[in-house]
Protein backbone atom coordinates (compact mmCIF):
# COMPACT_ATOMS: atom_id res chain seq x y z
CA UNK A 1 0.00 0.00 0.00
CA UNK A 2 1.10 3.54 -0.73
CA UNK A 3 2.24 5.27 2.40
CA UNK A 4 0.78 8.65 3.35
CA UNK A 5 2.74 9.14 6.55
CA UNK A 6 3.17 12.82 7.26
CA UNK A 7 0.97 13.94 4.40
CA UNK A 8 -1.13 16.87 5.49
CA UNK A 9 -4.29 18.31 3.99
CA UNK A 10 -4.34 22.07 4.09
CA UNK A 11 -7.47 24.16 3.82
CA UNK A 12 -6.48 27.35 2.06
CA UNK A 13 -8.64 30.45 2.01
CA UNK A 14 -7.79 32.83 -0.78
CA UNK A 15 -9.08 36.31 0.01
CA UNK A 16 -9.17 37.66 -3.52
CA UNK A 17 -8.69 36.61 -7.12
CA UNK A 18 -4.98 37.43 -7.03
CA UNK A 19 -4.50 34.94 -4.21
CA UNK A 20 -6.59 32.35 -6.08
CA UNK A 21 -4.27 32.81 -9.04
CA UNK A 22 -1.23 32.39 -6.78
CA UNK A 23 -2.58 29.08 -5.50
CA UNK A 24 -3.19 28.03 -9.10
CA UNK A 25 0.53 28.56 -9.67
CA UNK A 26 1.14 25.83 -7.11
CA UNK A 27 -0.86 23.43 -9.27
CA UNK A 28 1.69 23.78 -12.02
CA UNK A 29 4.64 22.85 -9.81
CA UNK A 30 4.68 19.12 -10.50
CA UNK A 31 7.70 18.39 -8.35
CA UNK A 32 5.65 19.23 -5.23
CA UNK A 33 3.30 16.29 -6.02
CA UNK A 34 0.30 18.20 -4.69
CA UNK A 35 -3.12 16.58 -4.78
CA UNK A 36 -5.91 19.16 -4.86
CA UNK A 37 -9.02 17.76 -3.18
CA UNK A 38 -10.88 21.01 -3.85
CA UNK A 39 -9.44 23.06 -6.67
CA UNK A 40 -8.87 26.80 -6.57
CA UNK A 41 -11.98 28.47 -7.94
CA UNK A 42 -13.30 31.69 -6.48
CA UNK A 43 -12.14 33.96 -3.70
CA UNK A 44 -13.59 32.82 -0.40
CA UNK A 45 -14.18 29.23 -1.51
CA UNK A 46 -12.07 26.76 0.42
CA UNK A 47 -9.20 25.08 -1.37
CA UNK A 48 -8.13 21.71 0.06
CA UNK A 49 -4.83 20.22 -0.93
CA UNK A 50 -2.99 17.10 0.18
CA UNK A 51 0.67 17.89 0.59
CA UNK A 52 3.26 15.10 0.77
CA UNK A 53 5.61 15.39 3.73
CA UNK A 54 8.67 16.50 1.72
CA UNK A 55 6.71 19.42 0.22
CA UNK A 56 5.05 20.72 3.35
CA UNK A 57 7.66 23.30 4.23
CA UNK A 58 7.84 24.68 0.68
CA UNK A 59 4.08 25.01 0.38
CA UNK A 60 3.63 26.69 3.73
CA UNK A 61 6.44 29.14 3.01
CA UNK A 62 4.88 29.93 -0.37
CA UNK A 63 1.48 30.60 1.19
CA UNK A 64 2.88 32.69 4.02
CA UNK A 65 5.06 34.69 1.65
CA UNK A 66 1.95 35.68 -0.28
CA UNK A 67 -0.10 36.32 2.83
CA UNK A 68 -2.55 33.55 1.96
CA UNK A 69 -4.27 32.09 4.99
CA UNK A 70 -4.49 28.36 5.57
CA UNK A 71 -5.03 25.85 8.30
CA UNK A 72 -4.13 22.21 8.64
CA UNK A 73 -7.32 20.27 7.92
CA UNK A 74 -5.79 16.81 8.36
CA UNK A 75 -2.59 16.47 10.36
CA UNK A 76 -1.56 13.07 9.07
CA UNK A 77 -3.48 11.32 6.30
CA UNK A 78 -1.96 7.95 7.18
CA UNK A 79 -3.47 8.00 10.66
CA UNK A 80 -6.95 8.42 9.18
CA UNK A 81 -6.31 5.64 6.68
CA UNK A 82 -5.24 3.29 9.45
CA UNK A 83 -8.34 4.21 11.41
CA UNK A 84 -10.46 3.45 8.34
CA UNK A 85 -8.75 0.09 7.78
CA UNK A 86 -9.17 -0.86 11.43
CA UNK A 87 -12.87 -0.07 11.25
CA UNK A 88 -13.29 -2.19 8.12
CA UNK A 89 -11.39 -5.09 9.69
CA UNK A 90 -13.50 -4.87 12.82
CA UNK A 91 -16.68 -4.94 10.73
CA UNK A 92 -15.46 -8.07 8.91
CA UNK A 93 -14.51 -9.73 12.20
CA UNK A 94 -18.00 -9.07 13.56
CA UNK A 95 -19.50 -10.77 10.50
CA UNK A 96 -17.29 -13.83 11.00
Amino acid sequence: NEDFVGHQVLRITAGDQAQVDKVKELQDLEHLQLDFWRDPAQAGSPIDVRVPFPSIQSVKIFLEAHDISYKVMIEDVQLLLEEEQAQMSAARARVR
Partner: protein
Protein backbone atom coordinates in the same frame (compact mmCIF):
# COMPACT_ATOMS: atom_id res chain seq x y z
CA UNK B 1 -23.38 -11.32 4.41
CA UNK B 2 -25.92 -14.11 4.03
CA UNK B 3 -28.56 -11.67 2.84
CA UNK B 4 -28.94 -7.99 2.10
CA UNK B 5 -30.70 -7.69 5.45
CA UNK B 6 -27.57 -8.68 7.34
CA UNK B 7 -25.23 -6.69 5.08
CA UNK B 8 -23.41 -3.98 7.01
CA UNK B 9 -24.30 -0.69 5.31
CA UNK B 10 -22.34 1.30 7.87
CA UNK B 11 -18.89 0.22 6.76
CA UNK B 12 -16.89 0.51 3.57
CA UNK B 13 -16.66 -2.54 1.31
CA UNK B 14 -14.35 -3.90 -1.36
CA UNK B 15 -15.36 -4.31 -5.00
CA UNK B 16 -15.89 -8.03 -4.50
CA UNK B 17 -18.13 -7.45 -1.50
CA UNK B 18 -20.21 -4.92 -3.41
CA UNK B 19 -20.52 -7.23 -6.42
CA UNK B 20 -21.59 -10.04 -4.06
CA UNK B 21 -24.14 -7.69 -2.53
CA UNK B 22 -25.56 -6.96 -5.97
CA UNK B 23 -25.98 -10.68 -6.66
CA UNK B 24 -27.74 -11.14 -3.33
CA UNK B 25 -30.10 -8.26 -4.07
CA UNK B 26 -30.98 -9.70 -7.46
CA UNK B 27 -31.52 -13.19 -5.99
CA UNK B 28 -33.80 -11.81 -3.27
CA UNK B 29 -35.84 -9.60 -5.64
CA UNK B 30 -35.94 -11.35 -9.00
CA UNK B 31 -39.18 -9.63 -10.04
CA UNK B 32 -37.79 -6.18 -9.39
CA UNK B 33 -34.02 -6.20 -9.81
CA UNK B 34 -31.76 -7.46 -12.55
CA UNK B 35 -28.04 -7.08 -13.19
CA UNK B 36 -26.79 -5.95 -16.57
CA UNK B 37 -23.18 -6.00 -17.69
CA UNK B 38 -22.64 -2.92 -19.82
CA UNK B 39 -18.95 -3.43 -20.57
CA UNK B 40 -15.51 -4.23 -19.27
CA UNK B 41 -12.91 -1.96 -17.76
CA UNK B 42 -9.39 -1.36 -19.03
CA UNK B 43 -8.20 -4.13 -16.68
CA UNK B 44 -11.06 -6.33 -17.88
CA UNK B 45 -13.29 -6.15 -14.85
CA UNK B 46 -17.01 -6.36 -15.58
CA UNK B 47 -19.01 -3.14 -15.36
CA UNK B 48 -22.44 -3.77 -13.86
CA UNK B 49 -25.64 -1.78 -13.68
CA UNK B 50 -28.62 -2.73 -11.54
CA UNK B 51 -31.94 -2.32 -13.28
CA UNK B 52 -35.01 -1.76 -11.11
CA UNK B 53 -38.16 -2.30 -13.08
CA UNK B 54 -41.75 -3.31 -12.44
CA UNK B 55 -42.35 -4.25 -16.06
CA UNK B 56 -43.05 -2.80 -19.47
CA UNK B 57 -40.82 -2.32 -22.45
CA UNK B 58 -38.29 0.46 -22.57
CA UNK B 59 -40.04 2.64 -20.04
CA UNK B 60 -38.79 6.16 -19.41
CA UNK B 61 -35.84 5.76 -17.11
CA UNK B 62 -33.66 7.38 -14.50
CA UNK B 63 -29.91 6.89 -14.44
CA UNK B 64 -27.89 7.09 -11.22
CA UNK B 65 -24.16 6.45 -11.00
CA UNK B 66 -21.90 6.53 -7.98
CA UNK B 67 -18.16 6.42 -7.63
CA UNK B 68 -16.79 7.46 -11.00
CA UNK B 69 -13.96 8.98 -8.94
CA UNK B 70 -12.75 5.91 -7.14
CA UNK B 71 -11.48 7.46 -3.91
CA UNK B 72 -14.86 9.01 -3.10
CA UNK B 73 -15.83 5.98 -1.07
CA UNK B 74 -18.95 7.42 0.51
CA UNK B 75 -20.53 7.52 -2.95
CA UNK B 76 -20.21 3.80 -3.67
CA UNK B 77 -21.34 3.08 -0.11
CA UNK B 78 -24.36 5.33 -0.64
CA UNK B 79 -25.09 3.54 -3.90
CA UNK B 80 -25.29 0.24 -2.05
CA UNK B 81 -27.69 1.79 0.45
CA UNK B 82 -29.83 3.27 -2.37
CA UNK B 83 -30.13 -0.15 -3.99
CA UNK B 84 -31.45 -1.71 -0.82
CA UNK B 85 -33.69 1.30 -0.16
CA UNK B 86 -35.32 0.92 -3.58
CA UNK B 87 -36.28 -2.69 -2.84
CA UNK B 88 -37.56 -1.75 0.61
CA UNK B 89 -39.62 1.27 -0.38
CA UNK B 90 -41.30 -0.10 -3.48
CA UNK B 91 -44.83 -0.98 -2.41
CA UNK B 92 -44.39 0.83 0.90
CA UNK B 93 -43.73 4.47 0.07
CA UNK B 94 -46.54 5.74 -2.20
CA UNK B 95 -44.42 8.45 -3.80
CA UNK B 96 -41.63 6.10 -4.67
CA UNK B 97 -43.98 3.33 -5.71
CA UNK B 98 -45.60 5.67 -8.25
CA UNK B 99 -42.18 6.43 -9.67
CA UNK B 100 -41.19 2.81 -10.09
CA UNK B 101 -44.62 1.85 -11.41
CA UNK B 102 -44.02 4.18 -14.33
CA UNK B 103 -40.27 4.45 -14.78
CA UNK B 104 -37.22 2.22 -14.54
CA UNK B 105 -34.18 3.07 -12.48
CA UNK B 106 -30.67 2.10 -13.52
CA UNK B 107 -28.04 2.27 -10.80
CA UNK B 108 -24.32 1.87 -11.44
CA UNK B 109 -22.80 1.49 -7.97
CA UNK B 110 -19.14 1.17 -8.92
CA UNK B 111 -18.64 3.28 -12.00
CA UNK B 112 -14.85 3.01 -11.98
CA UNK B 113 -14.12 -0.58 -10.84
CA UNK B 114 -10.39 -0.57 -11.69
CA UNK B 115 -9.82 2.62 -9.77
CA UNK B 116 -11.95 1.41 -6.87
CA UNK B 117 -10.03 -1.87 -6.61
CA UNK B 118 -6.79 0.13 -6.72
CA UNK B 119 -7.92 2.31 -3.81
CA UNK B 120 -8.42 -0.86 -1.77
CA UNK B 121 -5.20 -2.58 -2.76
CA UNK B 122 -2.56 0.05 -3.39
CA UNK B 123 -3.42 3.73 -3.21
CA UNK B 124 -6.42 4.94 -1.22
CA UNK B 125 -6.16 8.34 -2.90
CA UNK B 126 -6.55 7.12 -6.49
CA UNK B 127 -9.14 9.10 -8.45
CA UNK B 128 -8.78 8.22 -12.14
CA UNK B 129 -9.20 5.13 -14.29
CA UNK B 130 -6.22 2.75 -14.68
CA UNK B 131 -5.69 3.01 -18.43
CA UNK B 132 -2.22 3.48 -19.92
CA UNK B 133 -1.24 6.42 -22.07
CA UNK B 134 1.32 5.58 -24.77
CA UNK B 135 4.51 7.55 -24.28
CA UNK B 136 3.79 8.44 -20.66
CA UNK B 137 4.69 6.72 -17.41
CA UNK B 138 1.61 8.22 -15.79
CA UNK B 139 -1.54 6.14 -15.55
CA UNK B 140 -5.22 6.91 -15.72
CA UNK B 141 -7.71 9.38 -17.11
CA UNK B 142 -10.15 11.52 -15.19
CA UNK B 143 -13.42 9.91 -16.27
CA UNK B 144 -15.28 13.11 -15.47
CA UNK B 145 -13.32 14.97 -18.16
CA UNK B 146 -13.58 12.28 -20.86
CA UNK B 147 -17.12 12.85 -22.13
CA UNK B 148 -17.96 14.33 -25.49
CA UNK B 149 -19.11 17.70 -24.18
CA UNK B 150 -16.68 20.54 -24.68
CA UNK B 151 -13.98 17.89 -24.71
CA UNK B 152 -10.51 19.43 -24.83
CA UNK B 153 -11.67 22.91 -23.92
CA UNK B 154 -10.35 24.73 -20.83
CA UNK B 155 -11.27 22.99 -17.60
CA UNK B 156 -9.37 19.75 -18.14
CA UNK B 157 -5.73 18.85 -18.54
CA UNK B 158 -3.89 17.46 -21.54
CA UNK B 159 -1.10 16.25 -19.22
CA UNK B 160 -1.37 12.49 -18.53
CA UNK B 161 0.17 13.04 -15.10
CA UNK B 162 -2.56 15.45 -14.04
CA UNK B 163 -5.46 14.37 -11.84
CA UNK B 164 -7.78 16.00 -14.39
CA UNK B 165 -6.22 14.43 -17.49
CA UNK B 166 -8.97 14.30 -20.11
CA UNK B 167 -7.63 11.34 -22.11
CA UNK B 168 -6.54 11.17 -25.72
CA UNK B 169 -10.07 11.54 -27.08
CA UNK B 170 -13.65 11.72 -25.89
CA UNK B 171 -14.94 8.31 -24.76
CA UNK B 172 -11.42 6.86 -24.76
CA UNK B 173 -12.17 5.28 -21.38
CA UNK B 174 -14.11 2.02 -21.44
CA UNK B 175 -15.88 3.09 -18.27
CA UNK B 176 -17.25 6.17 -20.06
CA UNK B 177 -17.89 4.56 -23.45
CA UNK B 178 -19.89 1.76 -21.82
CA UNK B 179 -22.31 4.26 -20.34
CA UNK B 180 -22.49 6.31 -23.53
CA UNK B 181 -23.38 3.24 -25.59
CA UNK B 182 -25.86 1.98 -23.04
CA UNK B 183 -27.67 5.28 -22.63
CA UNK B 184 -27.80 5.93 -26.36
CA UNK B 185 -29.03 2.41 -27.12
CA UNK B 186 -31.72 2.75 -24.47
CA UNK B 187 -32.83 6.11 -25.82
CA UNK B 188 -35.42 6.88 -23.18
CA UNK B 189 -33.59 8.26 -20.17
CA UNK B 190 -35.34 11.27 -18.66
CA UNK B 191 -33.04 11.94 -15.70
CA UNK B 192 -29.31 11.41 -15.27
CA UNK B 193 -27.74 11.81 -11.86
CA UNK B 194 -24.02 11.38 -11.28
CA UNK B 195 -22.90 11.27 -7.67
CA UNK B 196 -19.54 12.43 -6.32
CA UNK B 197 -18.12 13.56 -2.99
CA UNK B 198 -17.20 15.83 -1.26
CA UNK B 199 -18.09 19.50 -0.61
CA UNK B 200 -21.90 19.40 -0.46
CA UNK B 201 -23.12 20.69 -3.78
CA UNK B 202 -25.95 19.95 -6.18
CA UNK B 203 -25.00 21.04 -9.67
CA UNK B 204 -26.57 21.22 -13.09
CA UNK B 205 -25.01 21.91 -16.52
CA UNK B 206 -22.96 23.49 -17.88
CA UNK B 207 -19.38 23.09 -16.76
CA UNK B 208 -17.60 23.74 -20.02
CA UNK B 209 -19.31 26.99 -20.91
CA UNK B 210 -20.76 29.93 -19.03
CA UNK B 211 -23.76 29.92 -21.36
CA UNK B 212 -26.81 29.01 -19.30
CA UNK B 213 -28.69 25.89 -20.29
CA UNK B 214 -32.11 26.53 -21.88
CA UNK B 215 -33.80 24.89 -18.87
CA UNK B 216 -31.83 26.83 -16.29
CA UNK B 217 -34.84 28.24 -14.43
CA UNK B 218 -36.50 24.86 -14.02
CA UNK B 219 -33.27 23.11 -13.05
CA UNK B 220 -32.46 25.82 -10.56
CA UNK B 221 -35.86 25.55 -8.91
CA UNK B 222 -35.65 21.79 -8.85
CA UNK B 223 -32.16 21.91 -7.35
CA UNK B 224 -33.44 24.26 -4.68
CA UNK B 225 -36.29 21.89 -3.82
CA UNK B 226 -33.94 18.91 -3.75
CA UNK B 227 -31.46 20.66 -1.49
CA UNK B 228 -34.28 21.73 0.85
CA UNK B 229 -35.44 18.13 1.07
CA UNK B 230 -31.91 16.93 1.73
CA UNK B 231 -31.31 19.52 4.43
CA UNK B 232 -34.58 18.74 6.17
CA UNK B 233 -33.23 15.52 7.65
CA UNK B 234 -30.00 16.52 9.40
CA UNK B 235 -29.56 20.19 8.50
CA UNK B 236 -26.70 19.50 6.11
CA UNK B 237 -25.98 22.66 4.14
CA UNK B 238 -25.71 22.44 0.35
CA UNK B 239 -25.06 24.99 -2.35
CA UNK B 240 -26.57 24.59 -5.78
CA UNK B 241 -26.17 26.06 -9.24
CA UNK B 242 -24.45 25.44 -12.53
CA UNK B 243 -21.06 23.76 -12.43
CA UNK B 244 -19.15 26.65 -13.92
CA UNK B 245 -20.75 29.27 -11.69
CA UNK B 246 -20.71 27.25 -8.49
CA UNK B 247 -17.25 25.70 -8.63
CA UNK B 248 -15.13 26.21 -11.73
CA UNK B 249 -14.90 25.55 -15.43
CA UNK B 250 -14.73 21.82 -16.14
CA UNK B 251 -14.90 20.43 -19.66
CA UNK B 252 -15.75 16.91 -20.82
CA UNK B 253 -18.02 16.38 -17.82
CA UNK B 254 -20.65 13.70 -17.38
CA UNK B 255 -23.83 15.69 -17.01
CA UNK B 256 -22.93 18.22 -19.70
CA UNK B 257 -22.90 15.23 -22.04
CA UNK B 258 -26.16 13.80 -20.73
CA UNK B 259 -27.90 17.17 -20.97
CA UNK B 260 -26.68 17.61 -24.55
CA UNK B 261 -28.13 14.18 -25.30
CA UNK B 262 -31.53 15.60 -24.47
CA UNK B 263 -31.76 14.36 -20.88
CA UNK B 264 -33.12 17.49 -19.30
CA UNK B 265 -32.93 16.46 -15.66
CA UNK B 266 -29.15 16.10 -15.47
CA UNK B 267 -27.58 16.70 -12.08
CA UNK B 268 -24.42 15.92 -10.21
CA UNK B 269 -24.03 15.73 -6.46
CA UNK B 270 -21.04 16.32 -4.24
CA UNK B 271 -21.90 14.51 -1.02
CA UNK B 272 -20.90 15.18 2.55
CA UNK B 273 -17.95 16.31 4.36
CA UNK B 274 -19.08 17.76 7.64
CA UNK B 275 -16.10 16.72 9.66
CA UNK B 276 -13.12 18.06 7.72
CA UNK B 277 -12.21 14.56 6.63
CA UNK B 278 -12.52 15.02 2.88
CA UNK B 279 -12.45 11.69 1.07
CA UNK B 280 -11.82 9.95 4.38
CA UNK B 281 -15.34 10.42 5.67
CA UNK B 282 -15.86 8.20 8.73
CA UNK B 283 -17.98 5.15 8.01
CA UNK B 284 -20.40 6.23 10.72
CA UNK B 285 -21.56 8.94 8.28
CA UNK B 286 -22.38 6.60 5.40
CA UNK B 287 -25.99 5.95 6.36
CA UNK B 288 -26.86 9.56 7.29
CA UNK B 289 -25.28 10.71 4.04
CA UNK B 290 -27.24 8.19 2.00
CA UNK B 291 -30.48 8.93 3.86
CA UNK B 292 -30.35 12.66 3.24
CA UNK B 293 -29.23 12.21 -0.36
CA UNK B 294 -32.13 9.85 -0.98
CA UNK B 295 -34.55 12.66 -0.14
CA UNK B 296 -32.96 14.84 -2.81
CA UNK B 297 -33.01 11.98 -5.30
CA UNK B 298 -36.69 11.38 -4.57
CA UNK B 299 -37.42 15.04 -5.26
CA UNK B 300 -35.69 14.87 -8.64
CA UNK B 301 -37.25 11.53 -9.54
CA UNK B 302 -40.75 12.68 -8.57
CA UNK B 303 -40.36 15.87 -10.59
CA UNK B 304 -39.19 13.82 -13.55
CA UNK B 305 -42.25 11.60 -13.27
CA UNK B 306 -44.62 14.55 -13.02
CA UNK B 307 -43.06 16.60 -15.82
CA UNK B 308 -42.88 14.31 -18.84
CA UNK B 309 -41.21 15.67 -21.94
Amino acid sequence: AQSTSTFNYATYHTLEEIYDFMDLLVAENPQLVSKIQIGNTFEDRPIYVLKFSTGGDNRPAIWIDTGIHSREWVTQASGVWFAKKITEDYGQDPTFTAILDNMDIYLEIVTNPDGFAFTHSTNRMWRKTRSRTPGSLCIGVDPNRNWDAGFGQPGASSNPCSETYRGKSANSEAEVKSIVDFVQDHGNFKAFISIHSYSQLLLYPYGYTADPVPDKEELDQLAKSAVNALSSLYGTKYKYGSIIKTIYQASGGTIDWSYNQGIKYSFTFELRDTGFRGFLLPASQIIPTAQETWLALLTIMEHTLNHPY
